[in-house]
Each structure stands twice: as C-alpha cells, then as structure tokens.
Symmetry: C2
Subunit: 512 residues, 2 copies
C-alpha cells in the first residue's frame, strides 16, 4: 500500500494546501517520505461542514449499523497487516511487540464500543409516566434519553500512535455516541495516521455510513488544531498530550461564542506508595517491578510511575539501591520524537539542579539520537513540599523517590499533590490501617487507585477510569479509556408528552 | 422568629464584616430591615475551610444519615411556617400562592434527593471481576464508583427565592452527592435566605452532620461571589441567573490554577411552535394558554415562552389578535427587584426600536413601582434571521411572534436559534409529518422538548432535564432540576485489586 499523503475530507482524498510536515525516524533522525501537506483553513472548514451534514443521518441510523461500522474499522485495521506495524515502528521508534499489542488494544476497544452501542444502555433512558389524576396538578409523561453532542474534533497523541490516535479511544467513543469525527493527526506519525484513516474510510464506505462521518487532517496544532476547535460545527474535543497543548485547546474552546467541552488528558506523575510491611517483605520484587513499569516504552506512558513515596527507613534505602543497580545498567531507549527527547533532557536537567535533590542513577548512555537514559532522583518530603516544580511531569523514564520522616509527612505530601491519573499502593495486611487512612486522600487525587500492581497497563473495560482531577485531565468527571468514555459525547434531552408516533425508539415503552 | 442578619460560618452565626445589603420591597420600593453585612474575604475563606474540613466526614457518613439530613431540612423549612412565606412575599413581590407552591416544590425536591441518596444508584457502580487465567495477560479486579467532587459554591437565584436558592435544587443535589455547600444568598431576598439557612443549620445539628457541611454568606457577586469561586477548596459551582453573571463566574472558575466545573443556567427564550392544524383547531385555547404561561410570575421564569413561531396565515393573525386582546387588558405585576424591572423596560424599548418589528400589545400601566407591563411584538422570519439581538432574552412577560412564510423559513429560524432550556410544539395529528421533520432540530437546541403544553412548570422527577446548549446553560451535559442533577457533583474513581477490607461499601460484591 503506497502512502499518498492526502487528507480525507469525508470520503474524498484531497491534497493539503498548506506546508508539508514529515515524519521523522527518531532512531536515526532521518526524514521519512512522503511529506504531508497540511490542511488549509478552507479544508478544515470543509471537513467540519461534512461532519455537520453527516450528523443527522449518522445519529439516526440504527444502532446495529453503527456497531457494524465500528467492527468494520477494527477489521480494516487488522487487514493493513504488517504495513501498519512497520510504518509505525519507523515513525515512533517503538518496538514491534509493543505496536502489535497496541493494535490489539485498538481493535479490542473498537469492538467493545460496538458491543456497548448495541446494548443501548448508554442512552440512559429514564421514564416518569404521566399521572393524569395527580392532585393538585396532573403530571405529564416525561422521558429522558441521552443524545450525541455533534461533530467531535479528535487530536492524535504522540505516545499511542494507534490506541489514542486516528481510530483510538476518543474516536471510537465519539463514533459510538453518534458523533461524526474530524481527526487532526499527530505530526509525529502521519504515515501511520494515513493508513488508519484509510481503514476508517474504507469501513465507512463498506457499511454505507454518511460521507462526512469521518475526516482526517494534517497540520500544526496552532493552525489546523485551533481552526478545528474554533469551528462552530464542532461540539466537543478529545485530546491526549502535553499540559501546554491541552490548555491552548481549552482556551480556544472557551473563547468561542458557544464554548464546548474539551476532554484533555494532560499530565500525571502517578505516585506509588510503598507501605512499610510490603516494602520490607518484597523489596526486590518491588524494585524490579517498578523499573519494568518505569522503563516501559521509554517511560512514555501517561501512567508512568514518576513518584515513589515511602517512609524513611533502611528498607527504603535498600529499595533505592536496588533500583539504582538495575537502572545504572539499563540501555537507553529511543524516544518518540526529537522534541520529546529534548524536553526529557531539559526536565532531567532542571530536576538535577533543584534544591535538596540527589541524583541516584543514570542509565547507560548512547551515541544514537533521541535515546532516553533512565534517571532516578531522591529528595525529602520537606524539599518536595517546598518546591512545587518537583511535581512537574518529566515525560520519560524518570522517577523521584520522596522519603517521608513519618506518616504525617506522607499525608502532607499526598495532600499537596496535584490531580493524577493513578495512585498506587503497595501494601501487605499489616499496612491496612495506614492504607485505610490514605485511601480517602488518594481517591481525591486520582482517577484510579491501584493496589500491589503497576499503573502502566490500562485495561479497556467497563470499570476503567483513565482520568482524574486537574491537571491530569481538564475534566475529572469522565474517563478517556473504557466504555464509560462514551458519556463524554452525550447530553440528556427530556421529551414531555411526546406523541407515540414521534417518540424516539429508545423511549418507546417496553423496549428496554 | 427575629431576623439576626448573621452569616452562618458552618454552625456558627457571625456578623458580616463588609458593607450591608438590604432587601427591598419591590411593590413599594421600601427598604427592608435588617441590613445584611456582607462577608469579608476572611469570612468567605473560613466558610470554605469549614466545608473542606467537613468533606471527609460528610462523604463517608452513611447514606441513611445523609438522607435523614435532607429530610430534616425539608421539615425545618416547613416548620418556619408563615414567617417564611411572609418574608418572601415582602422581598420578592410574589403572591402567597406562588410561594407556597414553591415551598412545596423545594421540600419535595429535598425529599426526592433523600430517596435518591438511599438507593445508592447514583454511585454508578461498575464491576469487572478479575480474570487471573486470561491469556496473554491476566485481568485485574476493577471496580468503579462515583464519588463527590468536594465543597460546592451555590448562588441563590432571584426568581426562585426557595426552589433555586439557599436550600434549592443546587444545594439539595450537591448535599445529596456528598458535597458540603457554601451558599452566597441572592441580595434580593436576604431575609428569606437567612430563614432557610437557619433551617438547614438546625437540620444539620439535629442529624449530627459535621460542622462545615453548610455555610451561608451575603454580599455582592463581584466580591463575595468571586472570592468563593476562586477559593481553592471549592470544587464546583451552581448558579442560576443572568448570562453576564454566569459568564463572570465561568471566567473566574477557568482562571483558577485548578479550573472547576460551573453549572450556570443563564438565558432562554423558549420557542413555542404553533403547527398549522393545531393552530387552526385550537386558536382560542392556545392564545389563552400561552398568555397564562407568559404572565406567570410576571414572566420571570427561566422557561417563560418568549418566542412564538408559526407559518404566516389568517389563523396566526387570529392567534395574535386574541393574545393582543387579552394582554391589552392584563394588569401589570410586580417584578422581583427594581434592577430586574429596569432591565425589562430597557429590553422592551430595545425590541420596540428594532427594524421590522411591530408592537402588537402593551398591558395595562400602573403608577406603582416595578410593575411589568406585558408586551407582545411581531416580526418576520427574515427580520429575525437578520437581527441577532432579537434572540436576546427580555426577562419578564414579553414575547415575540415570528411569522414564517413557509416551512423552509421555519426550519431556518429554528436552525439559527441559540441553545434553549425548552422548545414546545403544538400539533395535532395532521401536523405529524412537519413535527417529525422539526424534532431533530429541536433536540439539538433544547434540553426539553414538549408537546401540546406550556414550558413554565418544571416537574421535579427522574426524567426531567432543565438544561440545554449554550447559552441556556454553561454545560449542556447535565440538568439542574430532577434527580439526574446529582451527577453534576460526582466523578468516577476506579479501584484496581483493592483488598476486600479497604473496598468502599458500594463496591462490595453482592451489595447491589
């Protein structure tokens, strides 16, 4: 399959009218052909107009047809075969096994949303039947269902070229909700985006979806991205990326005559608590498990464990020593882009220079470009509390151990944390009392609290929450992974005394 | 019961430290004693600190205890008896029957939320059991529940001194969700607010709630209101009022280091469509029913029908004539405040001067202050489409008939509408085809679509949606009336492999 570097404006492929962007092989810094000419403002507007035109037929199509579309996307992605994996490897520096796993997850979540669509439960039907004889006033017949918001702008993420990109979780959940989608591909993997975009377009054709149900654009965030969010036909935004990027989209969305919701998943350092008994009983397995999680994908996971909290003790020192031993021997891994690598180096340098911080370990160096040398730092609760920048995410395999003199300090550190995607507690039975005291604090800080595990690895299921208070996300009331993500793109409508012949299908009595 | 004009900082009554505000009897322009000294910034901060301290014990108390608190508030409000009604009459100019009805609604919604709390359904439990034998990777045990956001700031509304004020829908739903509440009383009815606030405080004492579960402050929106929204301990805002007020709170909430959700219910002109057959069959009853809805509470309802849409025809002319006849003889009614009356007069004057608009009816005048003379205007679809300010809400008993030459014009007018709380369709069976064509448009514009009724009169039940796209509200994904309003103050948390002894009660298997 030859890459044609064209935008998809609905079902029509078109050459972009703005300057081209190129993928870069981060392992070599080689520029990858072809160049992807960016969408012009008129082309962004055309994609939005098509999405708007598709909205009515798409949302009113049968749920079975919508589910079939999602299943067909999954099939089309699989049928890209090795072409997809190889292009993604070139563009991201991620290894084959990781990308094959990510493809399985992407396909799995499309199928999960197909199932969810079929059940209809997400329509949240509520019926208060009429009470014509109620006194002093009769009650009307009142029926509620959730309907889709309208066309959704989705921004591909750099770190999940499949699962959070063109046909990733945001697209799958928006399409499931009945919202047409206009994607802005991430500039780091345009070829991967084109392949997946063509798979979505083929699935749309195959299942006879309205033309504008899906469009794919390329270009810069500050031009194409801003134009997309400002377009009046766009009614919600899904984004995974940096805090600066998320804030810019949020500001653009709020500045519109009609502000719209932005679901931005931004930054998290994912605290991991080592409670005393667990730490004593399992120092070695905790150390090796932690390094495995930290190093996964060169640390480029939203849920990467960047902060270790423990009580000052010889066991914590031992844990730090063990991690240091492993990390010092760890190979440097290719990061996703030169920009991400540069930001990592800057973040590490900035941490190194912070007051009261000690560098414990630096992984093996490399003469190859864009390699992430894992880093481990240590500081005290007092320094951590006094120095807010220590909370800033360093995207990559960098972690900070904060040792607390006592439980009070531990409580203070947790209380001072910003919002997080995850918080992890390692505990054994004798730690229960302390864990019970900490859990209410952790609930308030994180969208997912996990026990005796590692946060990298986000199960796509019904009970997952990949979300959390600001700045982990821009909207703590939702999740961007799992079936509950569909709710982001819905709003309730009440129908009062609606004649039976006009009543939406989901609200017809006896249907559920 | 003597009014003491004190703030409630948790359970402690305190004299405000800022300049006093006074209620005004709008029927006479008389100043009402006592003066309510406003809260100082330090007092606002104290209320927020108390709310924050109350959050953990309050949210972890039993659901039965929380429900008992809500029921006790209802009882305490009832036990204020006539004192409450008379003070509210003085402060608002609303008649006794209306206020007694509103009290019943207020008490009813507190009791509804007590019931909702007891069921626990709002916790939205989802459980994905562990699959230890799954290949290639086992699945962890994942359980989701919704937990409260934290302390909520509630702003009392001028037009519902009971049902949308100190113990109104926002307070009831936030308390039901497990969020402590800090109220800023509306300056138009401080005495009513004090009485209800003391009832809430008495209920909190009686049911042994934590001290800071409820606080009541007075003062200006630009000082006390802004301080409240800016306080880092406040995690969400409930507001019903003007678009300018809602926008100011939204801007303040977005400017915080940690932005928070604002649920502002702002403005709506509530289009009412008169389809041809219904109009022909029921011209008289439609005219009298419409005037009744328009005049209710001097038109000071969020759901007041301010826009009539119909197809140009002798029947529409007849409808306009009939409404004109009734309105021309209609008595002027006292509005809630001098400020609201002034804004009404200005809005009416501005409409009168708009191009292509015709004044059809002005109600009877009055020499008494702050009286709302009902007004009826008429224009064409073309003028309405060309003149966006015609869409602006004139809060009060003012309506505009827009006549459309054909169905296409009607579709264009509906398409051009901003977001609305309600849209009403009057139709008979032969109108079904047209109604079927319009319903998808109306769904996109309004939170509630009603048929053959009038929008004033919002049932407090499970299926109600009092919400809608911007600028009807700042967040179309929710409702501020009905049991679904509790969801505004919740966020999901996932617990992964949580040891049984730590698992939150709602997530223990077999409980639901």
């Amino acid at each position: 399959m030859t890459l044609n570097a064209q935008l998809l404006l609905g079902s029509r492929a078109a050459s972009g009218e703005a300057a081209p962007i190129y993928g870069i092989n981060p392992a070599t810094n080689e520029r990858l052909e072809p160049g992807y000419a960016g969408a012009s403002p008129a082309q962004v507007a055309e994609a939005c107009a098509l999405a708007d035109a598709a909205f009515e037929p798409y949302r009113h199509g049968s749920l079975a047809a919508r589910a079939a579309f999602l299943d067909a996307i999954a099939e089309q992605i699989l049928s890209l075969g090795n072409t997809l994996i190889e292009r993604a490897m070139l563009e991201t520096g991620l290894p084959r096994a990781r990308l094959e796993g990510e493809r399985a997850r992407t396909v799995g979540q499309l199928r999960l949303f197909a199932e969810v669509v079929r059940t209809g439960d997400w329509q949240g039907v509520r019926i208060d039947p009429a009470q014509p004889d109620r006194s002093p006033l009769p009650r009307a017949d009142l029926r509620l269902q959730y309907i889709p918001l309208g066309p959704v702008a989705v921004f591909g993420a750099s770190n999940f070229p499949l699962a959070f990109s063109v046909a990733g979780g945001d697209t799958a959940s928006a399409l499931a909700a009945g919202c047409p989608v206009v994607v802005k591909a991430h500039s780091a993997h345009p070829g991967t985006s084109e392949l997946v975009g063509r798979a979505v377009a083929a699935a749309a054709r195959e299942t006879e979806m309205p033309e504008g149900v899906f469009s794919l654009t390329y270009g810069s965030g500050s031009i194409v991205g801003q134009a997309l969010v400002a377009d009046p036909r766009i009614k919600a935004v899904g984004f995974t990326g940096s805090q600066a990027g998320g804030r810019a989209l949020l500001a653009a969305a709020q500045a519109r005559p009609e502000p719209i919701p932005v679901y931005a998943e931004m930054s998290s350092i994912n605290p991991m608590l080592l409670l005393p008994t667990a730490l004593a009983n399992r120092t070695e397995t905790l150390a090796s498990g932690f390094v495995g999680s930290l190093q996964l994908g060169a640390g480029q996971f939203c849920t990467n464990p960047g902060l270790i909290l423990g009580l000052d003790s010889p066991r914590l020192d031992r844990f730090a020593e063990l991690v240091t031993q492993i990390l010092t021997q760890a190979e440097a891994q290719t990061m996703l882009t030169p920009g991400i690598h540069k930001a990592y180096e800057e973040g590490v340098n900035s941490l190194s220079r912070a007051e009261g911080i000690k560098s414990l370990a630096t992984g093996l160096g490399s003469t190859d470009p864009n390699r992430c040398q894992p880093q481990l730092f240590r500081t005290t609760a007092l320094h951590f509390l006094a120095n807010e920048p220590l909370q800033q995410e360093v995207f990559g395999a960098c972690a900070l151990i904060v040792s607390c003199q006592d439980e009070d300090e531990l409580v203070m550190v947790i209380t001072a944390l910003e919002g997080q995607l995850t918080a992890t507690v390692h505990m054994d039975e004798p730690d229960s009392e302390l864990a019970r005291k900490l859990l209410p604090l952790l609930e308030r800080k994180a969208g997912r609290v996990l026990f005796n595990g590692f946060p990298t690895g986000v199960e796509v299921c019904h009970a997952m929450v990949h979300g959390g208070p600001w700045p982990a996300t821009s909207d703590s009331r939702t999740t961007s992974v799992g079936s509950a993500a569909i709710q982001r793109f819905l709003r309730p409508v009440c129908y009062q005394d609606c004649p039976p012949e006009l009543l939406p299908e989901a609200l017809q009595v006896g249907r559920y």
